[in-house]
Amino acid sequence: MPAVSGWRPPTTNALRDMRNLPWIPATIIAVMVIMAIFAPFLAPYSPIDQSLPDKLLPPFWVEGGSTKYILGTDAFGRDMLSRLIYGARVSLLVALLALTAGGGVGLVIGIVAGYFGGRLEALLMRLVDAAFTFPAILFALLLAVTMGQGLGTLVIAISLLLWASFARIMRGEVLALKQRDFVALARVRGCSSLRIMVTHILPNVMNTFMVLLTLNIGVVIVAEASLSFLGAGIPPPTPTWGLMISEGRGRISTAWWVSLIPGIAITLLVLSVNLFGDWLRDRLDPRLRQL
């Protein structure tokens, strides 16, 4: 586009930008976050209270169900809705912690590797390559066996899954950024390497980092669900969506709601987050390109 003084051209896809916030995904995400935070106030029952006489009741709109248990009950008579609401809590908490840990480590390694280059970069990038070849789920299972199941183990396992892709992408960003004159000029002005990385490089890669975070939420949630499904996640009776799917495994044809409902919840959340991340990237990236 020809440069016109003072006028900033619109983003390359004006239509998409005009679409504003994607309301449906944003609402879904908001609802789930609220569910997670206010679980004790929203859930009609305790998620772990069993009521064997009420076991395997279908959701209220199916014959045999009642409005007492809106989404039905599982094999132990526990209310599906309550478990779903509390399950959101665990899933989102794990997602947050794993993203912070994995993303954070990946960010730091990526920046250090990209900025210093040379042997340090080569070493770190070989580590990244190795991490990619590792069978992550197996490793998580191994961790669960050796360290015992629990929130900490789960977070560590998932972080290990994440950090490598963050590191690789962030290092790429830093390599591109290093070409910009202001990085060389920062050295000329007397900045230490640490200062350059923190003041000059970090703020300029934050956009990409944010987008990466949102795009990986889906990965993390599915990872948590998978690990819980396999029995390597949070031990029962704490509900997590993955665990709930696992519990309904043997009864898919008879009591389909036990697996399907948490499955739908996961799908909705991951879809919403991905769409939201898409929109976020459209809004943030073109600005980056303009700079």
Binding site: A3, S5, W7, T12, A14
Partner: protein, 333 residues
């Protein structure tokens, strides 16, 4: 040498542009990037189009090729008469035939003008085949000849090479070769030498002149470099804020610039032959293209501004043979 060329030029206008108007229609408003541009180009003539960034010269070129960028740009008025026909009335399919064969363009950056994953032979043959049909393989001899014409040594070997194996100057020559395979009547060169070293630039300009002598095509040469204009162009048009403010034979415009902007611009360029203590500058900024004044667009920065300059836009007034300037001060009394 160039004076000889001048006398051999046959008459005949090959491109006539009248009142070309291309605006950007945005949420913010209408950006009048090209606002009533008129000029003519004869066979075998080089017309320079000079101006600073934002004046609209590149967009004029794109408008002529009808290759406007996406995002609200539309040519809403004017006529572009190429070889007797107004190409603004052509359909996209017709334009595809016209581009490359009647009117062609070379751009500034040799790095991005060529596709890095195809050999240059492939790219030249593609251009040839588009014009005359047939298979790329059969077009190779003509491609080799095209490279020879642009002074590339050992063209048989170069044909299989890739862009990254060539220097900037050589890439620009390949770009030039591709542009003229269709034997266009008009060649638009948008700052083709800006990215080249000066000694390479000189080689390239001489090449362009030679090709022009052979083909008698008209060249519209867009640049911001006055030295290049002085060397290459027969006539020059100076653009400011979407309009041509002065147009005339190069000698005349340089020796006696009639528009205050032209005068100020020429004065602000450091000269090889003089030492100066201070360079004269032009105060202020060009006007915003979405909020243009109703009168002369240079008025706010002009040392000679008068009331009538604010009231109405001066038309093009004759200041010499084939030399016009849009300024009230040169209007006939």
């Amino acid at each position: 040498m160039d004076a000889e060329m001048a006398s051999e030029r046959p008459p005949g206008t090959v491109l006539e542009v009248r009142n070309l108007t291309t605006h950007f229609f945005l949420r913010r408003g209408v950006v009048k990037a090209v606002d009533g541009v008129s000029f003519s180009l004869k066979r075998g003539e080089v017309l320079g189009l000079v101006g600073e960034s934002g004046c609209g010269k590149s967009l004029t070129a794109l408008s002529l090729m009808r290759l406007l960028p996406r995002g609200g740009a539309r040519t809403i008025a004017g006529e572009i008469v190429l070889d007797g026909e107004d190409i603004l009335t052509k359909t996209p399919a017709e334009m595809r035939d016209i581009r490359g064969s009647k009117i062609s363009m070379i751009l500034q950056d040799p790095q991005t003008s060529l596709n890095p994953v195809f050999s240059i032979g492939n790219q030249i043959c593609e251009a040839i085949v588009r014009r005359i049909g047939g298979r790329k393989r059969d077009a190779v001899p003509e491609a080799v000849e095209a490279l020879r014409r642009v002074d590339i040594a050992a063209p048989e070997q170069r044909i299989g090479q890739f862009p990254h194996q060539m220097s900037g100057g050589m890439k620009q020559r390949v770009v030039g070769a591709i542009a003229i395979t269709g034997k266009p009547q008009v060649l638009i060169a948008d700052e083709p030498t800006t990215a080249l070293d000066v000694t390479i630039q000189l080689q390239y300009l001489k090449l362009l002149k030679r090709l022009q002598a052979e083909t008698q095509m008209g060249i519209l040469f867009i640049t911001h470099d006055f030295g290049v204009v002085a060397r290459m162009c027969d006539r020059v048009a100076v653009m400011y804020a979407g309009r041509i403010v002065e147009c005339g034979p190069v000698r005349q415009v340089f020796d006696s610039p009639s528009h205050p902007y032209t005068r100020a611009l020429i004065a602000s360029v450091p000269k090889m032959t003089e030492t100066a203590d201070r360079l004269p500058t032009i105060d202020g900024q060009p006007p915003a293209l979405w909020d243009l004044p109703v009168g002369c667009r240079f008025e706010a920065r002009c040392p000679h501004a008068e009331q009538r300059c604010r009231d109405a836009y001066p038309g093009s007034f004759q200041v010499g043979v084939d030399h016009t300037a849009d300024c009230w001060r040169v209007a006939p009394a």
